[in-house]
Symmetry: C2
Subunit: 509 residues, 2 copies
């Protein structure tokens, strides 16, 4: 075997173990009997150890060194294909990351965050930030240490960001998010003066059994391979991939909140489509992986929001929805429904927020995380900072920590640096959507008729099939001819919401 082939073989072993890990996690959220969680944690901890030792095994290191300089990243062999170069680049990246973290640190981090998740749950239930504070302090200090181990050029938070969104930095994000915040706040204030659409009819009872029948109806819009995915229900919708041939996602049903099921299905199926379309012939190497968390999120948001909240989409689906829920929707016009799914309402909880205010929730978290990691904010001052920022950006502020800084699981898991991916996903998606519209001028007409195949096709051809061959920046440049920017997203929102909030809506009954 050539060194490259050896690397592929060893990389595949890690990929197989990781795919097993993904199944174990999926099972926790779906079918694991509650009593089995302790045994499952032990299985997962052991698997993590195996993955770690497989990742840094000497044979892998030795062979990688033959093809790429670990320090500089310079390729040491001529005539490498661009696919080989991409794999070597990502193998080196991952290896450096793994090697930079001492074993004792990894163990301490895992142990602390594992305990912290339980403490966080208790603290949230009891609405006591002080209960979470000691372990949160420890996690922040560990994350700061992690940044030092991983290394960074300008800001320690960059090292953490990079884990989820390679080569993203505070220097790039800070001005983007500032511009976004300004744009969103100004949009919000212009909307606030307008009359709110009604959405009372979306809080009637929509029976679970009928809602469930809508999963396949919506999924028919995606060119998903039916043999290779499954959908289940879980408390928090998520998607995961074991392999392009085994992709799983979940949705949830809330009887008096039917849009939760509709839009979480659209969202998660967007992730699933990406996972199915990754280039399977490279399975086991980075080439068969998604570019980044943000890019994955862009695929789910593309479907959930840009397609799934478009007029054309509901022109096709709303009559069918009315048919399924005659009692609830017979008297509700298309316009009323369309306006109702676009209600903008500043709220306390991120995961319940609308597409306009969502990013403000993320920006708040970004600013707090960055300040915590650089040391300009102390953990005990989070609730105060939270309240202040919520008030300033969204005009509402939590009366309890449960609805404030304790609402997300991420910090207890040590996932500092993760939150920005959500908003980056929206920004990417907005740029892709602009390109999509330019290349498919008649997209609305097609969708209205129930022709959706060209959407999956656009995403597959331009993004999915490349796996990690290109970086986020490169993919953006290839498709949109522009770097990352907020103007696309802002102008999409502006155009859309000005129409919705300026049209003379039907008066409430």
């Amino acid at each position: 075997m050539t060194p490259y082939q050896t690397l592929c073989t060893l990389s595949k072993e890690v990929a197989l173990l990781s795919s097993i890990e993904a199944l174990l996690s999926w099972d926790i959220e779906t079918y694991l009997p509650p009593g089995g969680i302790e045994a499952r944690s032990e299985q997962m901890a052991f698997l993590a150890t195996m993955i770690h030792s497989q990742t840094i095994q000497p044979t892998f290191l030795k062979n990688l060194r033959k093809l790429i300089d670990l320090k500089s990243g310079k390729f040491l062999k001529k005539n490498l294909t661009k696919e080989e170069k991409a794999n070597l680049f990502h193998w080196r990246r991952k290896l450096k990351e793994t090697l930079s973290l001492p074993a004792h640190f990894v163990t301490e981090f895992a142990k602390t965050t594992s305990q912290a998740t339980t403490i966080w749950q208790k603290a949230r239930t009891e609405d006591r930030f002080s209960l979470f504070l000691p372990v949160l302090k420890k996690i922040i200090s560990l994350c700061r240490k992690k940044a030092d181990y991983l290394g960074y050029e300008e800001h320690p938070y960059d090292a953490l960001l990079d884990l989820f969104e390679p080569s993203m930095t505070t220097k790039k994000i800070t001005p983007l998010f500032a511009e976004l915040k300004e744009g969103l706040c100004s949009l919000l204030s212009s909307i606030e003066k307008k009359e709110k659409p009604r959405d009372d009819f979306l809080h009637q009872i929509f029976p679970a059994s009928e809602q469930l029948k809508w999963t396949p109806k919506l999924l028919a819009a995606y060119a998903l391979n039916k043999n290779s995915y499954r959908v289940d229900l879980s408390a928090h919708p998520f998607s995961t991939e074991m392999h392009p041939s085994d992709v799983r996602f979940t949705s949830r049903i809330i009887e008096n909140h039917p849009t939760s099921h509709l839009f979480s299905t659209l969202h998660e199926a967007g992730h699933a489509l990406y996972a199915q379309n990754l280039p399977v012939k490279y399975f086991g190497t980075p080439l068969c992986e998604a570019i980044s968390m943000g890019m994955h999120e862009s695929q789910s948001r593309f479907w959930e929001v840009f397609i799934g909240k478009s007029k054309a989409f509901w022109r096709y689906f709303y009559p069918k929805l009315q048919e399924s829920f005659q009692k609830q929707l017979k008297k509700i016009s298309f316009e009323e429904f369309y306006r109702a799914i676009h209600i903008v309402k500043p709220s306390l909880i991120r995961i319940e927020s609308d597409e306009m205010t969502y990013s403000l929730h993320i920006i708040i978290r970004y600013e707090i995380e960055k300040a915590l990691i650089e040391g300009s904010l102390k953990a005990e001052d989070i609730p105060e900072a939270w309240e202040e920022k919520m008030q300033n950006y969204l005009g509402v502020s939590p009366s309890s920590d449960k609805d404030g800084a304790l609402q997300d699981i991420h910090w207890s898991m040590g996932s500092f640096g993760y939150f920005p991916s959500y908003t980056l996903g929206n920004l990417y998606a907005a740029q892709f959507f602009e390109a999509f519209q330019q290349r498919n001028a008649l997209w609305e007409r097609s969708i209205q008729k129930g022709d959706f195949a060209f959407i999956s096709d656009f995403l597959k051809t331009n993004i999915h099939r490349y796996g990690k061959l290109y970086s986020s920046e490169e993919i953006l440049q290839r498709i949109t001819k522009r770097p990352l920017q907020v103007s696309c997203f802002l102008s999409y929102l502006k155009t859309k919401y000005e129409k919705i909030y300026c049209d003379e809506g039907p008066s409430s009954r």
Copy 2:
């Protein structure tokens, strides 16, 4: 760490990997998207390799050698507890087994049987034994080789038997099975002359949704820990255990065959109860494992047949069943139902056979397997031998291989030596049931009233909680004061069926 502690730690790692393997297998039968099977096979093959190398790792070997002589099995340390001795005994046993099989042989065996399963499926679908013959020949030759590698004293088949039923030998089984065959054949011929009960009403449509409601009703009879198991549906009911806190089993629903769901639930829940009650504090060591395949089967059959087909059981449940299925059962008396679930009817297919003829199917397989391994029967002569034995023992014979020698998956998996466990399970269960009756003279009265807890208690106290501390022989001796024998099972059948077939049954309507 002491050598014993080291062994426990390393043994637990293997147990964790095996429990992960069990989850992957469970998922194949329940929720895996069909397209994902190839990726799953790769995951499982890799996991098997890891388990193998963990099992024979030098540190384990070195520490085991300090405590037990690998050759003679003599303990090398004084003051070992009986629990420690049991673990050392089983660790040595397993290690010897694993070490005796060369890596190239294990790979060849796995590869051959993996291909063979696919070939068997095709051969069965096309009803062509000749298609399966070449690979079956290879498997027989590999199993013969396996027996040589594993070693045996008298008969090569003993080495294979021992994998499923430790220390069971052809010398012990052959006379037992001969006696059993004679007894069963004589019982059968005495029944054949009598009028058959009617069971036409059990072939009406019993809606799946109503049948499903019966799962929890039946399970209420078991003292199962509700937090630690789950039930799903699958094509072939099975049960599996990841850990005493995560036990899973399946049932199946056939709308015009409601007893399939009832009795497969009772059967698999019997396995599940055993798995839940294993001594969890020893998890990771043999002490937290079931004694043998046959002993596991005894626990499922105890519930399915000895309890689940008793009059007392249905005195309690039948009125409830009638209530659930008024249209189907309102006019069917208790006696009619009870007789219907005891219909004896020689048939071609093992898994569809009744409790009287079932063991004859097993005996046929045992005789053929033994002859194949010792070389007194050639693989090409299996169909003829099958037909002859079916005719002699059961009075029916298959007109096709599909309903004959191709009906079971076992041979394609290389599981020679497995079949006898099924009948041994029945024999064990019959002896346990006799002891159970002696110690619980009023058991029928209790069950009739819906009091079942003492059954689980009897099994837990006398069998489950010991794990592998005692062998099958020792457990039998402890509970029944007698070695393995067929008389218990035969006299149970005789008493029961003479009553059923002699009572003047209600005339058919």
